[in-house]
Amino acid sequence: MITGILIILPLLFSLVVFSLKDEKWIRRMAVTGSVLEFLVSLYGLFLYSTQCHCQLLLNIGWIESLHISFRFGLDGISLLLVLLTTFLTPLIILSSLDHPYRKPSAFYGLILLMEMAFIGVFSASDGLLFYIFWEMALIPAYFICAVWGGNDRIRITFKFFIYTFTGSLFMLVALIYLYLHTPAPHSFEITYLYAAHLTAPEQIWIFAAFFLAFAIKIPIFPFHSWQPDTYTEAPAGGTMLLAGIMLKMGTYGLIRFVLPICPVALKEWGWIALTLSVIGIIYASVIAIRQSDLKRFIAYVSIAHVGLISAGIFALTPKALEGAVIQMVSHGINITGILIIISLIEKRMKTREIPQIEGMANRAPWLAALFMILLLGSIGLPLTNGFIGEFLLLLGIFERNVWMAAIAGMTIILSAVYMLRMYQRTMLGKLREESPEISDISLAEAVPLIPLVIMVIWIGIFPNFFLQLAEPAIREIMNLIHG
């Protein structure tokens, strides 16, 4: 029931927002809708008990003849990601309120639509539904990036769309193939999919298809070429949605589908995925060092971080999975925060080019301080959320393969290198004479940032709540892999 509300609510509000004319009311409704959604999800959390693994089920018959139905349910992992979505969306909307987007009704309507799709993806316990919401998320994303994006938006966003769409089409084929191999009567229900009998080669093909789709979405090296451009061209809010939430769809998909469905293939070919992810970490980190455009910089940083997450997922150890889940949440929080900061910087300096920004800390100490905290979170300093994830991930990978862990561990050095370099060149130093008169962060601007910063610290100090929320689900998946 609650899950149904979670999915319907954003849809309704987006329709309302679409229909509205008065800008003030558009903004109000958008904020109200997203906040309401967040509260509902909190209530869902309240109803949720960590004991059994999948709950808050909703099952409405849809196509009985094929045993396809609107099947939603939350286990620990999905609940966490739903919470992440509902937590970030209001902040993203808030952060873009003062930005003069043309046609705000469409902009916020699309954001809410996207939220609906995200929640659908994270809570669907039916393969076809998952796919449907997966694609539904893509359309608003495309339009947000394409309509409100930068100069080169048309080419870039089109590339983004067709690239991800192609990937997901192969996932569709794989899904149908799975469906046909589920025990009769065929069904897309997740448990049926888990129970599908596949020979080893079949599993490998399924694995390949899923991996392609998810690797493009995440993105895992070398399928990432759409991502830096898109992040750079997209409007601030769009980038936040893409980086903060959308790419979690990929990692979530890996955990929800790839791991339980093709364990054999993973045992045979998982190492390739693992290696690719680890390569991605180093590759992207090294590239990030020299980027001059802040958003492009963040894009590469994000590739590096999610590389670690996916590496953890492919390590197939419980700790790594715990790490992956917690890190998904943390990454969402950190990157959204940093992107908000970047948009604030851009607002003040009228540019995103690092060489043209210097010494903002002189005039905007609070901005610098918040930035520093988020940054520490993303370089995984202990007592920030980043550390929990990185520690567990690396530990898990270490248990799987020492050398991989050693190489992946380079990230704690490289992240320090690129992050501090960027921070030093933007925040520290003398303020240029020619640079515009800048003010410190205003309360309105701080509103979306404060919760994020609090979460950075909170997860860093009390991660247990989140870990234990995800634990039963992870145990479930580990059983499916090994049992």
């Binding site: 849809w62 196509i63 009985e64 003849s65 094929l66 076809l128 796919y131 449907i132 919401f133 694609e135 539904m136 893509l138 359309i139 339009f143 394409a146 309509v147 938006r153 048309i154 089109f158 769309f161 067709i162 769409f165 192609t166 089409l169 192969f170 569709l172 084929v173 149908i176 193939y177 469906y179 046909l180």
Partner: protein
């Protein structure tokens, strides 16, 4: 049977009205008449009627499809008023011929005997030759009709030759007889029969515009007046593919191994050529022609993977495809009215002033692309499922890659409408027109969300 009669009568009535000079009565009469025909068609539901020692066989499948055809014609006629609003000459002939063509297509879905099949096809085609050229002054229209006529009559020659051979080999023109023959002779079919079989396939392939018999389609579609192109792209195509489907499911299902490879290759060719060629088209009308070609390739999957469920999925696909295509043509009519051409450049920036039209076209195109939760996706999904059930893995993979490519051209108008700056003209679409567009769009959504209705019919 009754349907066909009703339609024919309707046509005659229109002509009568024309003689009486009651131009304004045409559309109402037609719309009512079509509804009547629809009702009559549905009247035969679950009755499984045979007429004239089963020259006409009216079973549920045929009823469902002929309803789709009638309905499509109906929604096309909804645009007719706007399309012909400033034409002074009497239109009774055009309308009547359209109706007759529809009658022909209905025959194609109900045939129980190759004679009827042939008659249906010819009724349809001859009517279309006229319609394609109905814009006498326009040289493009002339060219279209000439090309269509020459190739059409040429290929129907092959069809006939095929039928003749089938007749000679099997000794009958009746489908049941032929199927019995195939069952009997399954192992060692005479070359005559096989030649006949393939010539029939080719004859129908031409009507469906299967590669390499598709060459007429783009040119004819472009030259033909837009409204009638819509008819060609939907009714004609669906009718012919249904005929093919019917022929194979009733007669030749027992000798699958003979025709399977050929159809496989033809389907793949159609999907790929259609999608690839669509990319570079400068105008929407021609693009839609190619998209229709690729879609006939997809529908071939249903014929190939003939199974209990495939008729249902073909029905859904036909419906989804027709609705979306008609919507697109509707917008095209508007644009043509405003800009005088249908180049992508004339779509630039229309989203600003005409959000409704833009959204409708977008949804239609997305549905054709196969984006959930729209009808097009569901249709594709069922089609692929049935195909995979029959183990056509590679075919499905190729089809999927095809629809990945199709994004490249389906998005061109969308990009033009939303992302390009253009002269902010307001398209003059009447209230009826708009409501109709909305209706179609909602239909696309509903078909996507509740495909069950159509699927469970058959």
């Amino acid at each position: 049977m009754l349907t066909i009669i009703a339609l024919t009568v309707l046509g005659v009535v229109i002509l009568a009205e024309g003689m009486l000079g009651k131009k304004s009565w045409h559309l109402p009469t037609i719309l009512v008449g079509l509804l009547v025909a629809l009702v009559l068609a549905l009247y035969g539901w679950n009755r499984n009627l045979h007429y004239y020692n089963s020259m006409l066989v009216v079973d549920n499948t045929s009823i469902a499809f002929s309803s789709v055809l009638i309905f499509t014609t109906f929604i096309i006629f909804m645009f007719a008023g706007h399309y012909y609003k400033d034409v002074v000459r009497p239109l009774d002939d055009i309308y009547a011929i359209l109706i007759f063509a529809l009658a022909g297509s209905v025959m194609m879905t109900n045939f129980g005997n190759l004679i009827i099949l042939f008659l249906g096809i010819e009724t349809l085609s001859i009517a279309l030759y006229v319609l394609a050229g109905s814009h006498k002054e326009a040289i493009t229209s002339n060219e279209a009709t000439l090309k269509y006529f020459l190739m059409g009559s040429f290929l129907s020659g092959f069809l006939l030759f095929g039928i003749a051979l089938l007749y000679g080999a099997s000794g009958s023109l009746n489908m049941d007889e032929i199927s019995r023959y195939t069952l009997r002779e399954a192992g060692h079919l005479s070359p005559i029969f096989r030649t006949g079989l393939f010539l029939v396939i080719i004859g129908l392939a031409f009507k469906i515009a299967i590669v390499p018999f598709h060459f007429w389609a783009p040119d004819v579609y472009e030259g033909t007046p837009t409204l009638l192109t819509a008819f060609m792209a939907t009714v004609v195509k669906v009718a012919s593919i249904v005929a093919l489907f019917r022929l194979f499911s009733n007669c030749f299902s027992s000798i699958r191994e003979i025709w399977e490879p050929t159809l496989w290759i033809l389907a793949v060719l159609t999907i790929l050529v259609g999608n690839f060629t669509g990319i570079y088209q400068p105008n929407l009308k021609r693009m839609l022609a190619y998209s229709s070609i690729s879609h006939s390739g997809y529908m071939m999957l249903a014929v190939l993977a003939f199974s209990a469920r495939s008729s249902g999925s073909l029905l859904l696909y036909a419906a989804a495809y027709s609705v979306a295509t008609v919507t697109a043509f509707g917008i095209l009519i508007l644009i043509r009215g405003a800009k005088g051409n249908d180049l992508y450049t004339s779509f630039e920036g229309i989203a600003k002033k005409n959000p409704l039209e833009a959204v409708c076209l977008t949804i239609a195109l997305l549905s054709l692309t196969g984006i959930p939760p729209l009808a097009g996706f569901m249709a594709k999904y069922y089609l692929f499922t049935t195909a995979l059930e029959q183990g056509y893995l590679w075919l499905v993979i190729l089809a999927v890659s095809g629809s990945a490519i199709s994004v490249a051209y389906y998005f061109k108008p969308i990009v033009a409408m939303y992302l390009k700056e253009g002269d902010g003209i307001k398209l003059e679409a009447g209230f009826a027109f708009k409501t109709h567009l909305i209706f179609l769009t909602i239909l696309t959504l509903v078909l996507g969300l509740l495909p069950v209705f159509l699927i469970n019919l058959l």
